[in-house]
Amino acid sequence: MPRTTVYKASIDYLQILDEDGVLDESLGMEDGRPILSDEQVMYLYEQMWIGRELDEIAFKLQRSGRMGTYPQNKGQEANGAGSGFAMKKGVDYIVPAYRENITMHMHGLPYHYILLHWMGDERGNKIPEGVLTTPISVPIGTHMLHAVGIAWSFKLRGERERCVITYFGDGATSEGDFHGAMNFASTLSVPLIFYCQNNQWAISVPHEQQMNSPTVAQKALAYEMPTIQVDGNDVFAVYKATRDARAHCVENCAPYFIEGVTYRLGDHTTADDARRYRSEEEVAQWAAKDPLIRTRKYLESREVWSDERQLELEGRAKKIVQEIVAAAEGIEPPVSDDMFVHMFAELDDDLRRQCETLRTSSIGQNPDQAGLKAEHQNA
């Protein structure tokens, strides 16, 4: 077998709802019905709208000094909404990065947790009992390995109906841990969906400086993992791909890769100014592909959406977000003890002493140590 072909692969791209909100019926219909009912699409549209409203307000909170750095999800909402909807709440596990507010919320996390996180408060990560999501992950690329471990625990315990989904950006695919996660997931064969939100940029680094491959989806070939590229601004395509991926994962106890081709319409975070590195034309082109606009057009074409409903939603969203902000801002300030008490299940002597003497001592010096004069102790 001198010169032979030992490997062949090809990758599909899926779009169902085009930029004008027109559904491809060959792909978007099953049993004569759209794969998402009008009610479902309205639900998803509302989730996306509320998510974007939260983004807007979060931006203002940061600008007015009421919150730290915040990364908007704007423009990418269909990825988190469509895929999150395909996952089973309370059964599946979500392992997000930081542009999946909608997914986390759909799976039960109260939104004010997310604000708390960006307000510099660890209580934003204190996921309530029964909510199956890990907290927002700031360090890039590290959390996908955790997702592998969670998925493997399902397999080990024989919980064969469960699946994990993990989200990450195009930039994250460059980290060594991305590679490790893909490799472990495929060799251990665990039920895990890798969802890459390819928003074309990692802060100021564009796709072509991040990777040489034209698609992110092809990275899965290295691991012999099934893979697909979808229009990430098309909630139908995202939903369908994820639903099918989930079925594949659960059935085969094996991983799946999805690249959602999308775009971050805002700055990287509130600490960023995207005008430094990308053109207005590029942004405008992608603004025309906005997932919210096209979903609304679709709903209008189905005659289930109207300007009134839109107005109602806008008002409702504002109120909801106000409440979220109030919840986040209404929390009592953390106390210094909070730094200590969660270090270990049981604190060792050093930590206990540091915690207890925080107010009376400079630490390093035990306040009841020989030689320390009483009058200076509480100075």
């Binding site: 204190k126 955790h146 969660h342 270090m343």
Partner: protein
Amino acid sequence: MAHLTLVQAINLALAQEMERDERVVILGEDVGINGGVFRVTEGLVQRFGEHRVQNTPLDESGIIGVSIGLAMAGMRPIPEIQFEGFLGPAYDQLVNHAARYRNRTRGAITIPLTLRVPVGGGIHAPELHSDSPEAIYTHSPGLKVVMPSTPRDAKGLLISAIRDPDPVIFFEPKRVYRSFREEVPEDEYTIPIGQAKVVNEGDDVTVVTWGASVFQCLEAMDNLPEDVSIELIDLRTIDPIDTDTIAASVEKTGRCVIVHEAPLTCGLGAELSARIQEQCFLHLEAPVQRVTGFDTVMPYYKLELEYLPNAERIGKGIRECLAY
């Protein structure tokens, strides 16, 4: 009671905990049929099956990252890293993830994992197979660090580590793996994490050490004049530090020598020295003396015995301290 080496005692503890708790799984490079490069996991895959003793790809960051996921999902992973020199690629997952998860989630998510790692020099191994990085992980909040020096301590401490609800690095001094046997109880037992052991009582000087250096210190003591009375402390747990035991001893002796294999600067000896000074200032009759590896890269094996604190150098340190 069986007469066991360190390797055998650890193997026994692993088997017993796997038997007792089916959430316990072992993962790492070559831990399966090969039993690990030091044969510490020998026989376990045959006994418990591949799903509980899993060979992994060659990726230390992956091993720890996946273990974190297992741990947060209710399992009790025991990852193995083949040599301490290969902790490097896993550093980020250990220090920035395993160590922080409980605190950053205010207790909602916890990481009960026990990382086993052979540690230290003296076995003529290749490059990056002989380091002593315990101070690195002691400086990193959120990890417990254990390093037993005897089979009996190893079994009891490993069982404690596995049952501990937080991440523990369990360093195994490879120089001691098969160097001697000791009576080790068959039954399960635990030795609390965080308690040093007074190996030898004495009045003139306190010697604090851990891991393989315990035996170098014993040898040094044998070579010293009989009238020098030495209190030898084996730390056993590196983090949290059992400062009380050390301080009580130094208050009695007034002098202290700390011995470790790691480089001097910013080694654990520095922390112990600082603490002793803080706590026993008025009792100290001489500066706390450190006898350690040099501030050089751990040399290849032709020079490793020049680098590691040996009985002669330790004896010299004790005499210097006494002479002050």
